[in-house]
């Protein structure tokens, strides 16, 4: 086990279960299968009138998506404040965060899902779309990280 999980495994499983409970609460309360990436599109719908950003689902869901995103930020902050106290600042260079972010925003919205929308929600319903998307983004991300490693380091 130490080889697969050098920092231990209980926090991974516990965190994953909490993520599932969060999705379950939103589903039982509202019927929405909540991923995270739609938030970017629904937020843009507040600031441009272009038809591509005024679809019915965006106007219908944007309040809920915004509240959910606030919850994600606040939930992580509360956990850090009340439980583990481990505030964190990444060492990943800003250009990698920014450039990667553009690809992530474009790709997740084109694919209609991200690690939560396809990875958690879609896999939980075994949709064909997510069964295609998840192996693809996992495989491509691993390949990309390996290809960049000699250039950029870990």
């Amino acid at each position: 086990m130490d080889g697969l999980f050098p920092t231990g495994w209980t926090h991974y499983l516990a965190g994953g279960v909490l993520i599932g409970v969060g999705v379950a609460i939103v589903f039982v309360a509202t019927g929405l299968r909540a991923g995270a990436s739609a938030f970017f599109t629904t937020t843009i719908s507040y600031i441009t009138q272009r038809p591509a950003f005024q679809r019915a689902w965006m106007l219908r869901e944007r309040t809920v998506r915004t509240v959910f995103a606030v919850g994600l930020i606040a939930g992580a902050a509360l956990f850090t404040l009340l439980v583990d106290g481990a505030w964190f600042t990444t060492e990943v260079p800003l250009w990698r965060l920014g450039l990667g972010g553009v690809f992530v925003g474009f790709g997740t919205r084109l694919s209609r899902g991200c690690t939560s929308g396809h990875g958690i929600c879609g896999m939980s319903s075994c949709t064909r779309a997510s069964l295609v998307a998840v192996p693809l983004f996992l495989g491509v991300a691993i390949a990309t990280a390996f290809l960049l490693r000699p250039v950029l380091g870990p």
Binding site: F5, P6, L13, A14, G15, G16, L18, I19, G20, V21, A24, I25, F27, T30, R33, A34, G35, A36, T41, R50, A52, R55, T63, V64, V67, F68, G71, I73, A74, G75, A76, A77, T80, F88, V92, G98, G100, G101, F103, V104, F106, T108, S111, C114, T115, G119, C121, M123, S124, T127, A129, V132, L136, V140, A141, I142, A145, L147, L148, R149
Partner: protein
């Protein structure tokens, strides 16, 4: 009440992202380098609970607590699904950041992640400008 429940769901989800350390790009990158397989445990735990909720809730209750009906799963599979997943994978491999984890990362005090979040907004905007969805 509906929005309070969504806030609660988001809080629990965000706490899970912090506890699992997925809010740290370094931990995600260590998975992508196949040095630590924790991310698969996180996904597995999340899928187990979510699958249970998605299967049971509509059977136990005809409708959600605060709305008229449960949404059907969005199963549309086309070229967008696959090409988008590939583009996402490239960005995830470069940055170690995905949408939910990036938002939670703000919560654990990681100010530089704002650059990734700004990038995601730019990417989502480009998607809507260049290849908008039909609906």
């Amino acid at each position: 009440m509906r929005l309070l429940a969504v806030l609660l769901g988001g809080l629990v989800f965000g706490a899970g992202l912090a506890w699992s350390t997925m809010a740290r790009p370094e931990v995600v990158l260590s998975f992508l380098h196949l040095a630590d397989f924790g991310l698969l445990l996180v996904m597995g735990g999340g899928i187990a609970v979510t699958a249970l909720a998605f299967a049971l809730a509509p059977r136990l209750r005809g409708r959600p607590l605060f709305t008229a009906s449960f949404d059907a799963a969005d199963a549309r599979l086309d070229r967008r699904t696959a090409i988008g997943a590939i583009v996402f994978g490239v960005g995830w491999g470069i940055s170690g950041a995905c949408p939910g984890a990036a938002l939670a990362s703000l919560g654990i005090g990681n100010a530089p992640i704002l650059v990734a979040i700004a990038g995601m907004f730019v990417g989502a905007w480009l998607q809507g400008r260049l290849l908008p969805d039909g609906d």
